[in-house]
């Protein structure tokens, strides 16, 4: 049978993976945080990264957003190594992220936070801003337009002008998501998005993550403790422990992986 792929996204998903993590190792002094971790993230997929506390998940995230530099190994995004990319240029290459313990701009309104998310999508400088040159207004309108779309998408309309510090935790998490989406990422890194959310909120989050992928074609790398969320939304799961990959596969495969079970439940012997 000759199968002709009419869908361009299907073609790209069968080709090169969007993100390739190869043999990444990170040491902090004598402590080995990551010890040669490798996995691929396919274009358009949702990959769940699991592991007990201290397994190295956040360290890996910080390597992906270039806050840490791996001691060895390589990280390739869309075929290009990002290790020599400056941290502030990562957003420009198409990687957006949220933070485990929230990293919002506390004094700024929801709208302004989301508009900072569009920083990498805009270019006006000090002088043109100070003089408010005509094209600055155009750029501002564009940024605001994108921000309002996302504010509605994440159901933040009623809080748009509120300083984020005054918002409940769950709402702040949505603001972070909106801010990350404002940079129009191809890959979205979510660091424990379910942390601190109640049961209903976690369910809503699961469908939201899927929706973001389906509506916007954004590939998602999800680090999460909340096992039922990971298993419900992920196409593929990677499990790490003590800085090493201990299992990989579909959610059901990983759930039955003896190494993973041992890491989470401990051994009986």
């Amino acid at each position: 049978m000759n199968r002709v792929s009419a869908n361009p996204s299907a073609a790209s998903s069968s080709g090169q993976p969007l993100l390739q993590v190869s043999d990444v190792a990170v040491h902090f002094g004598g402590i080995i945080a990551l010890d040669g971790v490798s996995f691929d993230v396919k274009q358009g997929s949702i990959l769940g990264l699991i592991g007990p506390n201290g397994a190295g998940k956040t360290t890996l995230f910080n390597c992906l957003s270039r806050l840490y530099i791996p001691n060895s190994g390589d990280i390739r995004f869309a075929g290009q190594s990002i290790l020599s990319t400056a941290p502030h240029k990562i957003a420009n290459t198409g990687i957006g992220r949220t933070f485990q313990n929230l990293a919002l701009f506390a004094t700024m309104s929801v709208l302004d936070n989301v508009m900072v998310g569009g920083h990498s999508q805009s270019s006006s400088d000090f002088l043109s801003n100070a003089l408010r040159l005509p094209w600055v207004k155009t750029e501002e309108d564009g940024l605001a337009d994108t921000a309002w779309d996302l504010i509605e998408y994440l159901d933040l309309m009623d809080e748009a002008y509120t300083p984020v510090a005054d918002l409940p935790f769950g709402t702040q998490k949505r603001v972070e998501l909106a801010r990350a989406l404002a940079s129009k990422p191809k890959l979205l890194l979510l660091d424990e998005p379910a942390g601190g959310l109640n049961h209903d909120e976690v369910d809503g989050l699961g469908s939201l993550i899927k929706q973001i992928r389906d509506d916007r074609g954004i590939t998602v790398l999800l680090v999460e403790h909340h096992m039922s969320l990971v298993m419900a939304v992920s196409d593929h799961v990677v499990a790490i422990d003590f800085g090493r990959k201990i299992g990989e596969g579909t959610p059901s495969e990983v759930q039955q992986n003896p190494e993973v079970i041992r890491a989470y439940l401990g051994t009986s012997d």
């Binding site: 941290p87 701009f105 998408y153």
Partner: protein, 352 residues
């Protein structure tokens, strides 16, 4: 197949109005009030010099100059979160640039303001680069060193040919080319024009992409970087722009006082800016005007109060009175004068 796809951009709900803009006092909305106050302030600024004597005009000019310098410090400290105890140095560099150009090269005063600003922009930017490695108290210390070093550098033998050493430089007072204005009135309007321009620029800067990035760095530098903000460039450029504002203020101060000397630019001046910043309102643009008026009037007022006692040591007493006023100001208006006004209007608007 795919159900429940949310529509974006095409089918968006109307953008809600900012509830803060909907508030009103006496049936007039707050944005309208803001405009009324702005026009009133400008009207007073334009009419006042014709109603008061020349010395008061001179003092108003000084208040405007302080306001510009405080605005510069506010861009750096208030909006970008970088501490500076060294802005007296940039004020001094601006003043000396103008004084050297006017005193040694006979250049008309209006040609010296932009060079003074540019020299300070470069000086501030260059100082901002090593400052990138310093945070909070350590940056305060480094800028403090700059403030203490500046008078000594200006006194240095080998620069004496330019700086005039301890003697400083005397300047001629620019003459008013306008028939119906005295020299003081004329200079006041020059300073007012520059101040209005700089305040508009600061307002534009702060409300746009650059300002959001500056505030983002202050609130959360790592998140700002992750959003694509080049922290190093923004921080050092903010340092430069801040120094430019303060340097232009210094330049204008040299012109109106007609004299520069190293000991006018000591650490005490830097602290004066900081006092103006805090009393006026941190991260507030109109706050810089309140701050400028405070740092000009309160020392004079304190002296007047101290003199009332008729004691011979009234000079020392005036500082104590100044201190009392400062404590009172910070106690009554913890968010500065601008914050106080904001709170008061919000209270009035809600009707309680």
């Amino acid at each position: 197949m795919v159900a429940d796809v949310k529509m974006t951009s095409t089918g968006r709900r109307a953008i809600p109005e900012n509830p803060a803009l909907r508030l009103s006092i006496a049936g007039i909305r707050l944005p309208v009030w803001n405009k009324i106050w702005l026009i009133l302030a400008l009207l007073i600024a334009v009419v006042m010099p014709f109603l008061v004597e020349d010395f008061s005009v001179f003092q108003m000019t000084q208040a405007l100059i302080f306001a510009m310098a405080i605005l510069g410090l506010n861009l750096l400290t208030g909006f970008n979160g970088q501490f500076s105890l060294g802005h007296s140095a940039f004020f001094g560099i601006g003043a000396y640039t103008t004084a050297i150009m006017m005193g040694h090269y006979d250049i008309a005063f209006y040609w010296t303001v932009i060079p003074a600003g540019v020299v300070c922009l470069v000086a501030g930017f260059l100082f901002g680069l090593p400052a990138l490695r310093l945070e909070g108290l350590y940056l305060a210390l480094a800028t403090f060193a700059l403030a203490t070093a500046m008078p000594q550098i200006l006194k240095y033998n080998h620069f004496e040919e330019f700086t005039g050493g301890v003697q400083g430089i005397d300047l001629d007072k620019p003459k008013s080319p306008v028939a119906f204005m005295t020299d003081d009135q004329f200079l006041y309007f020059v300073v007012l024009l520059i101040a209005v321009f700089l305040f508009i620029c600061a307002w534009n800067l702060v409300r746009g992409r650059t300002g959001r990035a500056m505030i983002a760095i202050r609130d959360n530098p790592i998140a700002a970087q992750t959003m694509g903000v080049n922290n190093a460039v923004y921080k050092s450029l903010t340092f430069g722009v801040s120094a430019l504002y303060t340097g232009v203020a210094g330049s204008m101060s040299a012109i109106i006082i007609q004299f520069v000397a190293p000991d006018s630019f000591t650490f005490l001046l830097a602290v004066t800016f900081l006092v103006g910043l805090v009393v006026g309102g941190v991260a507030s643009i109109p706050g810089a005007i309140f701050g400028g008026i405070f740092v000009l009037l309160i020392p004079n007022f304190s002296e007047w109060v101290a003199d009332l006692t008729g004691r011979t040591d009234a000079k020392g007493l005036s500082w104590a009175v100044y201190g009392a006023f400062l404590i009172l100001a910070v106690y009554v208006m913890p968010a500065g004068a601008a914050g106080f006004v904001r709170k008061l209007t919000a209270k009035l608007a809600r009707g309680n």
